[in-house]
């Protein structure tokens, strides 16, 4: 027992020190700390943010102010209404949501930039002292306004993304040198397909679509393309389209068919039969014996 306690102690010390160092390492780069939201937070956006928060964050962090976060996780996720979270700048929160750090997932490809800001706007409602800094680039946006179009070329079996940009003359022309990322939607978050590519002179990029990617029953997959813009100098919206180009996959869910682990009404037929028949056979023998034994009362004549 003593030896085990010692081992446990050493294990806890090692684990704790490991967690300490890794917790310290999550440093937000200085240029990201000052980042501010591109719009003013409003009750509408906070409501949107709450919806996203309950879907993506609440499972570990709990509801802010309720102190119902998952205490077993390491490093502890903590209650986001607490000072430790609220004293961080918007830029720091945005960076942490975007990049994640195990066990927290990165939301870079799960939530759009706007959605991440909405979550922050929701979190700030738990901080009465919070005053939002002036939104970034309000009034003067000097970057490019880019519009994406996505198509699937069934002959070449490639996904085509065409980027156009708004000129000063308010016309749309093909946009060269724009980094484009392609994703496919999956159960949790999006999976990136290939590396980011840069548009050529025609404003065009081609992505190979893998031949073995599973789709739904009809092979449908949802593709998302977006601009890969780290500097924030491009304004654009991601484009989503669904194409029947995946491998049709009709796998019933694990609990949809009869299985050992399913609910009672989905029990395997052989178990129902084996159980019912055994019970009926044994209990009919028992009942018939009881009846015949009670019957010996009337057989009292030698």
């Amino acid at each position: 027992m003593r030896f085990r306690n010692l081992l446990l102690f050493i294990f806890i010390i090692c684990w704790a020190s490991l967690m300490r160092t890794s917790a310290q390492q999550w440093v937000v780069p200085d240029d990201q700390k000052g980042k501010v939201a591109p719009f003013m937070f409003s009750p509408d956006l906070q409501k949107q943010g709450e919806g996203i928060y309950t879907k993506n964050c609440v499972s570990c962090h709990g509801m802010p102010g309720k102190d119902n976060w998952v205490k077993q996780l390491s490093p502890p996720p903590g209650d986001l209404a607490m000072v430790k979270a609220q004293k961080q700048s918007d830029g720091e929160l945005f960076y942490r949501i975007t990049t994640g750090k195990a066990p927290m997932p990165e939301f870079r490809n799960i939530l759009s930039e706007d959605e991440r800001w909405w979550v922050i706007s929701f979190l700030r409602t738990f901080n009465p002292k919070y005053v939002q800094p002036n939104p970034a680039g309000k009034g003067v946006f000097t970057g490019k306004v880019v519009k994406l179009q996505m198509t699937y070329d069934s002959v070449q079996k490639k996904v085509k993304v065409f980027a156009t940009e708004l000129t000063k003359e308010r016309t749309m022309v093909a946009s060269e040198g724009i980094g484009i990322m392609l994703f496919v939607k999956r159960y949790f978050g999006n999976m990136q397909l290939g590396d980011p590519k840069t548009t050529g002179k025609q404003g065009l990029v081609l992505f190979d679509f893998p031949t073995d990617l599973p789709g739904d029953k009809e092979g449908k997959v949802e593709l998302i393309c977006r601009v890969n813009d780290a500097s924030g100098s491009i304004s654009s919206s991601p484009v989503t389209s669904t194409y029947a180009i995946g491998v049709p996959t009709n796998k019933p869910g694990l609990t949809e068919t009869r299985a050992w682990w399913s609910t009672r009404d989905k029990a395997p037929v052989w178990i129902i039969l084996a159980y019912t028949i055994s019970v009926i056979v044994v209990w009919s023998i028992i009942i018939s014996i009881v009846i015949s034994v009670i019957g010996i009362r009337k057989l009292n004549r030698t």
Binding site: W260, I289, G295, I296, N300
Partner: protein, 441 residues
């Protein structure tokens, strides 16, 4: 023949004189009742405050309640070995022991279900097991087979007793007045007619045959509650026979202890003879050897491979925190009894009774070692938990609630043995060449 008649009179008197309420019975039952009340008070605390009063926590959620359940199911299996297996083979010397074995089976099987209820935080939801139970779950199978086995055991206790009840009903002066109406009903007008005997013998035979698979099922299914998981110490293909063979060890020991006390307190020395102890001693050695064989398989095979999770578990048993209990159980409760019982000197009543107590205590702690240590080593440890989640230690309340079923078993055995003859009168008379219903002829 007068001689036969006197012999039969003496035999009937010898085997029925304990059927009465005397001072000893009242003192003994009074003691058991007071002890039971203390235990029920503990259970009241648990009902009021919840399962937190027991030492079970998130890691070890099956504590001594569950190991006690396994022990009770195990002990009840002896009915099947003695009355069904040996009875169907036609072994003659078991005649005076059959009813003792069946009484033990009925008592332990009846209480086993109650032991499970003590592990339930919301016992008033017991009916949900039947209403919402999944037919795929070994828990539902367990409930089904334990109930079936209990009914089979009650019938196998009662059917061979009908003749005795009828004999004693005719000799009403041997019975306390309040018991006579009960005997009148239970005798079922039995008068040793060929037709009645045919029905009873056929019923006993059929019941004995279905008792064997039923008994194997109850303990195999109980073992599956563990073996259907992948946890170290439980993830074993031989858990069914391992449990069944261990059950016979515990059951044999229980029968020997009961034999000893019935023999001395009911003065049955002429009927439960040294020969019966000698034979039961040999049966116990055989069962212990089979169980030892399964133990060697159960521990040596994973110990040779020492897979990571198994290694943690086995080191804990062999040389870690549970080592003292483990080796006491294996050596004191299994190996030493085997060695001693090989010598005929130890197969006499008193040494056998003492050895059987060691065996049965070992059998109880063996269930502890099967159920608890595995849970202290989960595959995915919970982080930041209090220390009392990781190491299980039963509380006083929990221990009292665990003692209650033993008191109930003793009460049931005492009451059955005070209402009905412990040793079959009819069969004993027949074996001695007397026709019980025509002894004056």
């Amino acid at each position: 023949m007068d001689n036969n008649k006197t012999t039969f009179e003496k035999l009937t008197l010898d085997l029925s004189h304990h059927i009465r309420i005397n001072k000893g019975f009242l003192v003994w039952m009074g003691f058991l009742t007071v002890a039971l009340c203390v235990c029920l008070y503990a259970y009241g605390l648990q009902l009021k405050q919840g399962l937190g009063v027991a030492g079970i926590r998130d890691y070890v959620s099956w504590g001594i309640y569950l190991s006690n359940f396994v022990f009770f199911v195990a002990s009840s299996l002896i009915g099947m070995l003695i009355s069904a297996v040996l009875g169907l083979i036609g072994v003659k010397w078991i005649t005076p022991l059959v009813r003792i074995a069946e009484t033990i089976a009925v008592a332990f099987a009846a209480v086993a279900g109650l032991v499970i209820i003590s592990d339930m935080g919301r016992p008033e939801r017991l009916a949900y097991v039947f209403i919402y139970g999944r037919v795929q779950s070994p828990i539902l199978w367990d409930v089904t087979v334990v109930t079936t086995y209990l009914v089979l055991s009650i019938l196998l206790l009662f059917l061979p007793m009908i003749a005795d009840i009828a004999i004693l009903r005719k000799k009403a002066q041997l019975l306390p007045a309040w018991l006579r109406p009960i005997y009148n009903v239970l005798s079922l007008n039995y008068a040793d007619t060929p037709e009645q005997n045919r029905i009873i013998h056929r019923s006993i035979r059929t019941l004995s045959i279905i008792l064997i698979p039923a008994a194997l099922s109850i303990h195999t299914v109980t073992s599956w509650l563990f073996a259907f998981t992948t946890r170290p110490g439980w993830d074993s293909t031989i858990f069914g026979p391992y449990f069944v063979s261990g059950a016979f060890v515990a059951g044999c020991a229980a029968v020997i202890i009961a034999m000893y006390f019935f023999r001395s307190s009911y003065k049955l020395q002429d009927y439960i003879q040294d020969l019966h102890f000698d034979r039961m001693g040999k049966v116990l050695v055989l069962m212990c050897l089979i169980y030892l064989y399964f133990n060697i398989n159960e521990y040596l095979v994973p110990a040779f491979k020492l897979k990571k999770a198994d290694a943690l578990h086995l080191h804990e048993l062999f040389s870690g925190g549970e080592a003292l209990m483990f080796w006491l159980v294996q050596l004191g409760g299994l190996v030493l009894p085997i060695i001693l019982l090989i010598f005929s000197w130890f197969r006499r009543p008193l040494p056998m009774m003492l050895i059987s107590i060691a065996v049965i205590v070992g059998a109880w702690f063996k269930r502890y070692l099967i159920v608890i240590p595995t849970q202290e080593h989960p595959f995915l440890p919970i982080q930041h938990v209090p220390a009392n989640f990781m190491v299980y230690s039963p509380t006083l309340v929990e221990s009292l609630i665990t003692i209650a079923p033993f008191i109930l078993v003793l009460m049931i055995i005492t009451i059955i043995s005070k209402f009905f003859p412990v040793i079959p009168i009819y069969e004993t008379a027949k074996e001695r060449g007397i026709e019980p219903f025509n002894s004056d002829k």
